[in-house]
């Protein structure tokens, strides 16, 4: 413990030096911008800016790149809340209740809670990263394909809790998402599936164009289709701040989101996206009034936003402690270290204490910077809502197209986004929720890969899933969840979902 404090002091002496502070600040600002721009997520932002860091020394470069990463997680919530456009894929869940809050005039409150939740999650998970990195990292390594498969399966069960409407419709949408996720090169055999000669489709359907299309474009189209334009919201200063009630309702979700996000973040894969889905589902399951989810529940913003921020710190655990990437973003950061002559590996913490502790300390500092940066910006961003729709939406559309194109420089992605926008519009008209499609697109390739890798490992023996303790435990939890889900069938009671559907029938369709 003494050592940790001493090291942390060393870290802060580095992180608070003007130069490092400056690069942390630049990273945070760039990250916020990257997060705000629809489509451009942290991966694209870091990739585009990586070459610009080649001239810096290793610590500065890593501090700046990390700033972009968690800055983007903060910024991603802004457009989700204000315009229902996910700034990056992990903000999809924030769109649902964040935007509903904005429609009720609580945009400022939603933004403030997202910022504070992100701050708490960011700071707490850095503490966890600092104290627990080495033991957690070796635990993360025990997650092989069978464990990963069990975890993803658990994620799929979570789907069942995600929608507020009909379970059948939610499952249909999830199935559609899973099917879309089947497009692309079969990772195990090299076959092109459903690519129809388009080389770009070899990589499958990206989650970014799907998310931006289904949420952002569909919203723009739906608004354009209204006979009377919706009223422009004029936020007043008083409405910018969350009420005491809203703070109370978001405290527990922030805490749970932090723990969930950090733990899921450690597991290799696109964890920050999944963590936000899981947190949303958990919050709804625990909520006293689950019917509020989708109509502007504060917990539906606080939980997922905290989770995706905590997941970014979790993702650094295997990277710093072992030198192995836990996802595409840490992989780019590892490359950045190599460019600077730092060999990432299990000896990094011992050999490069300035880098490791400077990095940790800079994450504390960065989170403070982001909070200071984002809270006042709430007032600025909210004023975007004053812009008349005739001007706002065409420019947002242009930004969506630019953003999605910028990620891979691929016109095919833009077409996917446009098609998804059209699809999302019709699904909305038919009262389908689109979030399960996004989750399906995220999960399908990972789920399939993990299943087939496991079977390759075991030479086709399915027993591998129950023979390994972690995967057996996870599958057991999944079974319990299913059993709980079936309980209403046995007890013949109406669960809240059915009651809500009945109520809606009475209210909204007279």
């Amino acid at each position: 413990m003494d050592d940790t404090l001493q090291n942390l002091a060393l870290g802060f002496s580095i992180a608070l030096s003007p130069a490092i502070l400056w690069y942390a600040f630049v990273g945070c600002v760039v990250g916020t911008l990257v997060g705000v721009l629809p489509g451009v997520g942290p991966l694209a932002g870091i990739s585009l800016l990586l070459p610009a860091t080649f001239g810096l020394d290793a610590t500065r470069a890593i501090v700046m790149l990390a700033g972009i990463y968690y800055g983007a997680m903060y910024g991603g919530s802004t457009t989700s809340i204000l315009m229902r456009i996910p700034g990056e894929a992990a903000s999809v869940m924030t769109c649902i209740d964040g935007y509903a809050m904005a429609r009720k005039g609580r945009a400022g409150a939603a933004l403030a809670i997202a910022a504070v939740g992100s701050y708490v999650a960011g700071t707490v998970s850095v503490v966890a990263l600092m104290l627990l990195a080495p033991p957690l990292a070796s635990f993360a390594l025990r997650f092989g394909p069978p464990e990963y498969f069990a975890l993803l399966l658990l994620g799929l069960f979570v789907l069942a809790y995600m929608s507020s409407g009909s379970m059948l419709k939610a499952l249909a949408m999830a199935a559609l998402g899973l099917l879309l996720g089947m497009i692309g090169i079969d990772q195990m055999t090299g076959y092109f599936r459903f690519a129809y000669g388009v080389v770009e489709l070899g990589d499958g359907i990206g989650v970014v164009p799907v998310a931006v299309g289904l949420f952002g474009l569909a919203e723009i189209l739906a608004t354009a289709g209204l006979a009377v334009p919706p009223q422009v919201i004029k936020p007043t200063l008083r409405e910018l701040l969350p009420t005491r009630q809203e703070w109370r309702e978001s405290a527990a979700p922030i805490g749970r989101g932090t723990v969930l996000g950090f733990l899921i973040g450690i597991v290799p894969g696109s964890a920050h996206i999944i963590s936000s889905f899981v947190s949303y589902a958990v919050e709804r399951k625990l909520a006293k009034r689950p019917q509020e989810f989708g109509q502007g529940a504060v917990a539906g913003v606080a939980g997922p936003e905290s989770a995706n921020n905590a997941a970014t710190s979790g993702a650094f655990v295997p990277m710093l402690a072992l030198g192995v990437p836990s996802g595409p973003i840490p992989a780019v950061m590892l490359a950045a270290m190599m460019v600077h002559g730092v060999s990432p590996g299990p000896l990094l913490i011992k050999q490069q204490p300035e880098l490791f502790w400077g990095f940790i300390a800079s994450m504390y500092v960065g989170n403070v910077v982001l909070l200071i940066l984002n809270l006042p910006l709430v007032g600025v961003f909210v004023n975007l809502l004053r812009v008349p729709y005739a001007i706002l939406y065409p420019s947002v559309l242009a930004f969506c197209i630019l953003g999605v194109y910028a990620v891979n420089g691929s016109v095919v992605d833009v077409w996917i986004m446009l098609l998804m926008g059209g699809l999302g519009y019709f699904l909305r008209k038919l009262d389908f929720e689109t979030a399960p499609i996004v989750l399906g697109v995220v999960l399908a390739p990972m789920l399939e890969m993990a299943l087939r890798q496991s079977l390759a490992m075991s030479d086709g023996q399915y027993s591998i899933f129950v023979a390994r303790p972690i995967s057996a435990t996870l599958l057991g939890v999944g079974l319990i969840l299913i059993a709980l889900g079936l309980q209403p069938l046995v007890t013949r009671g109406l669960d809240w979902r059915a009651r809500l559907a009945l109520a809606e029938k009475g209210d909204e369709h007279p």
Binding site: S343, L348, M449
Partner: protein
Amino acid sequence: MRLSRVCSLAVLAAVAVASAQEPYPSRPITMVAPFPPGGIADLTARPVAAAMEKVLKNPVGVLNKTGAAGAVGMQFVATSKPDGYTLLLALSSISIIPEADKLFGRPPAFTVDQFAPIALISADPTILVVPADKPWKTAAEFVEDAKRRPGQISYSSSGVYGTLHMAMELLSHAAGIKLRHVPYAGGGPALTAVLGGHVDALASGPAVVLPHIKAGKLRALAGWGDKRVVALPEVPTFKELGFPDAEFYIWAGVFAPKGTPEPVLAKLRDALRAAVNDPDFKGAMEKIETPIVFKQGAEFARFFEADAGRLAEGVRKVGRIETK
């Protein structure tokens, strides 16, 4: 006959001179890296481009055109104008992709003869690593055990028909063994798998696994190069061990679209020769621990052909993968 050839050459030369009114290069050059930033192609392309800029006195920009394991970017260069303003920094996979396309009977995204090789920049032999707690101390023990238990020893790779898969397949054929292949989506996850003990072995570039060997987590058994890896002098090559066909490098080379005029190619070769001797470039490659191996013209063409032949053979031997 001879006269007519001279005439046609003269005419060609005249055309070339006429069209080359503006001296090459007179505007920015794009070097396409068909993999995302941070990958070995990108990390090689950027210092190469920076060093070429100094020689050619024109900006050389790196464009990451990614997708489909590099096929998107390679196809892009194969079909661009052969004027020397669009270049490709390719890895060994350039000769694997068309062969895999052929295997599946699909129209190839591009073919190898759509490119004019300019120069080889680096070549890094892969090395065989196993988790330190596995019983094999030497490559001979590994091969022997694999013979005893065909299909029981598993290895991870960066992807099916990927470079790390091919390296293992070449070894399997040279040694007459059968291993169990578990493909991953990229070299990073493949390394994680072997560190976590989920698979028994991995063929990898030395730079990536060196820290883990030093930390005592992995053990290196042998290398695929024709010489030992400098950083691991005690690790033998498969050649020394009597498997001369197990030769494999992860290499990076610069290509232009076929049909690029010879004077332009000559200029590019000179620029690249100067670039690899640039101290900044040398420093950059040292940091990513990738040995510079420069070959140009006929020498590179020979290396490329031999390598492409080995890989094509490797792909054909793997054949289509039928899962149960």
